[in-house]
């Protein structure tokens, strides 16, 4: 992506460009590469038609990917595949190492080909059923065992994964608890407490996956898979200072399914696993691909189509989209029947994709902005230990200050903004049926951005979504999601009808065969460990306007402060939350 090396031309708004002809030619050229299309399997969610040449990853990204692929293959070799398989993996390892040694001289087609072979994965590994949970940990040979493996059965980890895991977006404050939950259940988690009181005080929370009940369950590749349609209730016990919530009870299937509580032994462990499975399905298809990758997609496609590369907003946004088109293409393309993902998750691929499509169609862009999301979540109790909420909010404010300063430089008045026809077309196209089909963008009748305030919100959302929000949903792939028992995408036995049934259904049988667990490990870890670029960092000279350069310096300093704040918070938290340390948050969605 050499285009990020040096800004090519001075910036101007379309109404001030002394060379409108050249501007139009540039846009026309970009429009040949960036065009909306609708892929059948995710219709009507729009994506770009193909991967333009300038959207392929930069060398830096490829080099990181090669290193990770090497470790992945080494891990695989250590697992002692059958002799043929091992020989094949060793030859692949040699190829990867040789490409890595060549560095920038490596042929990129060969590199992509080798990466593709590495990602194809575990063919040849026939682990079969595990004999103990140790077997899952033993899949990690050269790849480090995730921290969640250590105490994955603990309730404290179960809570941690709701507020600081891979999908902390679904926790909601509860004002009107379902009648399957009783004061008696609550009393065990928060002695003497009552549901009505806890609800009134904003101390009651839940995650609710009722909508999964409608999804058809799959059998790919060769076994029946389940994820329930659970609902889990949590309470913040009375007390002082920020503290973790506690689980109250889980109803595994809705409506009408049995309710389990922490006193239920193995049945409780199984109930938690169903919450984990449902959460994993929603994490990938809804919270991650649909609400992050596929929201970024039209923002970037229309940026290329409607904002000239001379446009100050193109300059601001482009670094936030580095690598996004490439990874979205690969990601959306891989969501097919019989793919690796199909084997990992409980619903059929059609079911998974209906989750993705609905989430993308129904959710309004403005409602996903942090302040609106927080308000709607109702999980605002200040004493609730909710690391995601607290840390991601820091980014929102800091990014907004930077964006406001940037916008102030180029849009000194509302009038200047309303004269900007490229900006209008950008917003209209993102919203339009033949464009990005994104509800809730813009504040004008048709989705135009008509005020400076709305522009700042829209850009803040874009920079925040592509950095912190994506990092929060993605990088659990490094050290949470690779460990199957803690975050199963599917369970392999039907939910328990009651506690005694647990005796007839060994807990281990609910979990995946080892080849599936390995596939989950590899699919997650490879991209979960790939961190390319860093939020707030831009190539030298990318911004040249002095006021912007100053604002950027402030932005970077404030990010350092966030780093320090999170480290300080982590010292007091029941478990550290490291996904949102600015040093670990990339600038763009490139994985």
């Amino acid at each position: 992506m050499a285009l990020f090396k040096r800004p090519p031309t001075p910036l101007s708004l379309p109404q001030d460009d002394p060379d409108p002809g050249g501007r139009e030619r540039g846009l026309n050229a970009a429009r040949a590469d960036y065009r909306y299309t609708t892929l059948d399997h995710v219709a009507p969610v729009p994506t770009n038609d193909g991967v333009p040449l300038d959207a392929y990853p930069a060398f830096g990204w490829l080099a990181l990917a090669l290193q990770l692929a090497i470790r992945l293959v080494e891990n695989r070799i250590q697992l002692n595949l059958d002799p043929d398989g091992t020989a094949e993996q060793e030859s692949l390892l040699d190829d990867l190492k040789s490409l890595a040694r060549k560095g920038e001289r490596a042929d990129t087609d060969e590199a992509h080909d080798a990466l593709g072979r590495a990602k194809e994965g575990t063919a040849g590994f026939e682990g079969g059923r595990p004999t103990s949970f140790e077997d899952y940990a033993n899949l990690f040979r050269t790849i480090p065992l995730p921290y969640v493996a250590e105490d994955w059965t603990d309730d404290s980890l179960f809570v941690h994964l709701r507020v600081a895991g891979s999908n902390p977006f679904v926790l909601r404050g509860v004002t009107d608890p379902a009648d399957v939950f009783t004061d008696a259940m609550l009393g065990r988690a928060s002695p003497g407490d009552r549901l009505s009181l806890a609800a009134a005080e904003g101390r009651l929370f839940e995650v609710d996956f009722a909508h999964l009940a409608d999804l058809e369950r799959g059998v790919y590749p060769d076994a029946s898979k389940y994820c329930g349609s659970p609902r889990a209730l949590f309470v913040l016990p009375r007390g002082r200072g920020q503290r973790p919530m506690r689980p109250v009870a889980i109803q595994v299937e809705q409506p009408g399914g049995a309710v389990f509580t922490p006193g239920d032994g193995e049945a409780w462990l199984v109930a938690k696993a169903f919450v984990g499975a449902a959460d994993a399905v929603v994490q990938l298809y809804d919270s991650h691909i649909s609400r992050v990758h596929l929201v970024a997609e039209p923002l970037l496609v229309s940026m290329h189509r409607q904002l000239s590369s001379r446009h100050p907003l193109h300059r601001l946004l482009a670094p936030s989209f580095e690598g996004t088109r490439f990874i979205n293409h690969a990601g959306v393309d891989s969501l097919k029947d019989g793919s690796g993902y199909d084997g990992l998750y409980a619903p059929t691929m059609t079911g998974d994709l209906s989750l993705l499509i609905d989430a993308r169609q129904d959710r309004r862009f403005c409602d996903a902005m942090f302040p609106a999301w927080l308000q709607a979540s109702g999980a605002t109790h200040p004493e609730l230990e909710f690391p995601y909420r607290d840390d991601v909010g820091l980014y929102w404010s800091v990014i907004r200050r930077f964006v406001a300063a940037y916008v102030g430089v180029y849009y000194p008045s509302q009038e200047v903004l309303r004269r900007d026809a490229e900006l209008r077309a950008w917003a209209l196209e993102i919203r339009a049926d033949i464009g990005g089909r994104m509800p809730g963008l813009g504040d004008g009748a048709f989705g135009q951005i008509t005020t400076v305030e709305n522009l700042i919100d829209t850009l803040t959302m874009t920079l925040w979504l592509t950095s912190a929000r994506h990092a929060a949903v993605h990088f659990g792939q490094e050290n949470i999601l690779p460990f199957h028992p803690a975050a199963p995408g599917a369970l392999f036995r039907a939910p328990l009808a009651d506690v005694p049934q647990a005796e007839h259904n060994p807990t281990l049988d609910f979990f995946a065969p080892l080849e599936t667990a390995l596939s989950q490990l590899e699919l997650n870890w490879f991209f979960g460990a790939l961190r390319y670029t860093r939020v707030g960092e831009y190539d030298d000279g990318w911004f040249s306007e002095p006021a912007v350069v100053d604002a950027l310096a402030v932005f970077q300093r404030e990010l350092e402060e966030i780093e320090a704040t999170i480290e300080e918070r982590n010292r007091h938290r029941s478990r550290p939350y490291e996904l949102l340390l600015p040093s670990r948050v990339p600038r763009s969605i490139n994985v």
Binding site: G21, G22, E24, R25, N28, R31, A32, R35, Y36, T37, T38, Q414, E415, R418, R419, A421, R424, A425, L428, E429, R431, A432, D433, I434, G435, G444, A445, F446
Partner: protein, 610 residues
């Protein structure tokens, strides 16, 4: 240098060279003040050899110039611009993709088109244009797969903003007041008979409790009636059944305070047949009914508002001004720039736009013969006075300030500027009404324009015969002519590129019969009502071609054209006023639903030349 940049450079290099007709030779004078009667008479006799009225079968009864006199040939600057537009069309086709052979051929054509320069022989260009129009775009044929198929027609041509907003009801209302044809909507006191709309239908759009009985007297009901299209016959050319409906649509202003965009309440596609009335509650049937209306509006726009009420209205001014006014006559000098290129373009349209088998024939729902017939009938029935903007607004009851109507607001400004300029100009040459009555050339000119054997222009001049007896009448007639040739035509012409260029929003016709009921609509895919792709591309290219051709600027006369220093002062005032209006419109556009640019003075040519 790439071909693309050559085209662009050609376009840019000619921006600065636009000129009006060549400077007139001598100081202006009225015939009664000119001692050289004989010279004047001789030159007029010569002009009458060249300029004569005729009629053609295609446009029954419509007076046209008999042939295209040599002096009507366009300026080279016009050719350069027009050729560059065709090059852009080819560039788009190249981007769509074609075989190597065809690509070479297209590149050759583009070279020829962008190679046109001062001194080039232009006589072969029309044939070249026809070649471009006839060339098939590869892979562009048959039915669309989805809406993307239409978007894909725009590779290097700009996808108009309407494509992004058209499905909204608000856009549908907006088009009536700021779209391709703002000349149709009218205020009504009550819903016409046979258009069965209920209070509930109205209230669903305008607010709870609203009634037709209340909305009518409050001037909140508006109608777009395309009944003039009932004379059309549905076509089949080139190879499929097409439909056009004499549809009507009811609009209303929502209850409340402040200016509002009229919103659609109900649509009836075929009133004569007593067809169903659809409302926004009808879902898909409503969407299709709206498409039936926009396709009718497209046909009406071209036949009536565009061809019938600008092009064909201006033709008599082009002919009679040459025939009856000496080139020394001050009115000649005022009128001629407003008809520059009109005879030529009207003739060109007859031969290669509305001709049998031409692009209109191919694209539109009605047969070409009946479209031309409707256009001719509308032209002949038009009262010239109704083209004056204030009169037009009053006739259509559009003066309520609560009605958002960018056309009305901007046209009023431009009209006033034109009328003020014409008045100031006429004051320079006519001291009083007596001077008007003493002007023999002017009398002959007016009588001929109004006459059944001449220009056949209803309402022209003073009754009964059309002579002009007062300065006031003279100013009004000239203001209408100058306005209609320039801004009036521009209003409907240039909007083609922005608001008629996206086929799904404004198809040239329906390609399946309009829905008769909600159940009927449910049975037929929405896409089937839209044109096949080759016809869609024809529509895209034709609207782009016509809507991109800016030649000359209103108020911008070539130096020395008037041959009289007295003109400088009022002319400067006129030009300054146009600049102010430009700024006013720019300012207004900041707060409009979408910008309305079709009456910005910088985008108004002086004449109908495309």
């Amino acid at each position: 240098m790439s071909l693309k940049s050559r085209i662009q450079d050609t376009l840019e290099s000619i921006e600065s060279k636009i000129e009006g007709p060549p400077p007139a030779p001598s100081a202006p004078s009225l015939p009664q003040d000119d001692p050289e009667h004989a010279v004047r008479a001789a030159r007029l006799r010569a002009a009458r050899q060249e300029y004569n009225y005729t009629e053609v079968d295609e446009l029954p009864g419509v007076p046209l110039s008999d042939g295209v006199p040599k002096s009507e040939d366009p300026d080279i600057a016009w050719w350069i611009k027009f050729a560059a537009i065709f090059a852009k069309l080819l560039e788009n086709r190249l981007a769509i993709g074609m075989t190597d052979d065809a690509e070479d051929e297209h590149n050759d054509l583009i070279k020829k088109l962008v190679g046109v320069k001062p001194g080039s022989d232009t006589s072969k260009l029309p044939a070249l244009f026809d070649l471009v129009r006839a060339a098939k775009a590869e892979g562009i044929e048959g039915r669309p797969i989805n809406l993307q198929s239409y978007t894909d027609l725009f590779r290097t041509l700009p996808l108009p903003e309407l494509a992004l907003v058209w499905p909204h009801d608000e856009t549908f209302g907006w088009l009536q007041v700021a779209g391709f044809d703002p000349m149709v909507l009218q205020g009504i006191d009550a819903v016409p008979e046979g258009f069965d709309v209920t209070d509930a239908d109205l209230a669903a759009v305008t607010g709870e409790g609203d009634t037709l009985g209340a909305a009518g007297p409050e001037r909140r009901l508006y109608l777009a009636d395309y009944g003039a299209l009932r004379s059309l016959t549905n076509g089949v050319f080139p190879n499929a059944s097409k439909y056009v409906y004499p549809a009507r649509a009811l609009f209303a202003l929502p209850c409340g305070e402040g200016p509002r965009v009229p919103l659609p309440v109900a649509i009836q596609c075929d009133p004569d047949a007593g067809s169903a009335v659809f409302t926004p509650a009808d879902g898909k049937a409503w969407a299709l009914a709206k498409t039936a209306v926009t396709s009718a509006a497209f046909a009406f726009h071209e036949a009536s508002s565009h061809l019938g009420r600008t092009h064909l209205i201006m033709e008599p001014f082009a002919v009679s001004t040459r025939r009856q006014l000496s080139d020394r006559h001050p009115v000649y000098r005022l009128v001629l720039p407003a008809v520059e290129g009109t005879i030529y373009i009207n003739n060109l349209a007859l031969g290669s736009l509305i001709n049998d088998g031409g692009s209109i024939d191919k694209a539109f729902g009605g047969t070409i013969e009946t479209i031309r017939g409707a256009s001719a009938a509308i032209r002949l029935a038009t009262d010239f006075n109704g083209l004056a903007v204030p009169q037009n607004i009053a006739d259509r009851k559009l003066d309520d300030p609560r009605l958002v109507n960018p056309w009305r607001d901007d046209a009023s400004l431009v009209w006033e500027a034109v009328a003020d300029w014409v008045r100031a100009y006429i004051d320079l040459y006519y001291a009083d009404d007596a001077a008007v009555q003493a002007d023999s050339e002017l009398r002959a000119w007016a009588l001929e324009i109004a006459s059944d054997t001449g220009g056949r222009l209803q309402g022209f001049g003073d009754a009964p015969l059309g002579a002009i007896r007062s300065k006031a009448t003279l100013v009004r007639m000239l203001a209408i002519a100058v306005y209609t040739g320039g801004p009036g035509h521009a209003t409907v012409n240039f909007a083609q590129r922005d608001t008629l260029m996206y086929p799904p929003a404004t198809p040239t016709g329906l390609f399946r019969a309009a829905p008769t009921s909600v159940a009927d609509a449910a049975r037929n895919p929405e896409l089937d009502y839209l044109p096949p792709l080759d016809i869609a591309l024809t529509a895209v290219e034709t609207t782009y071609e016509l809507g991109s051709m800016y030649y000359t600027t209103l108020g911008g006369y070539s130096p020395g054209w008037f041959g009289d220093p007295k003109v400088d002062e009022p002319l400067k005032a006129y030009q300054a006023r146009l600049e102010e209006i430009e700024a006013i419109i720019d300012r207004r556009n900041l707060d409009r639903l979408l910008p309305y640019t079709f009456l910005k003075p910088s985008l108004l040519p002086a004449s109908t030349n495309i």
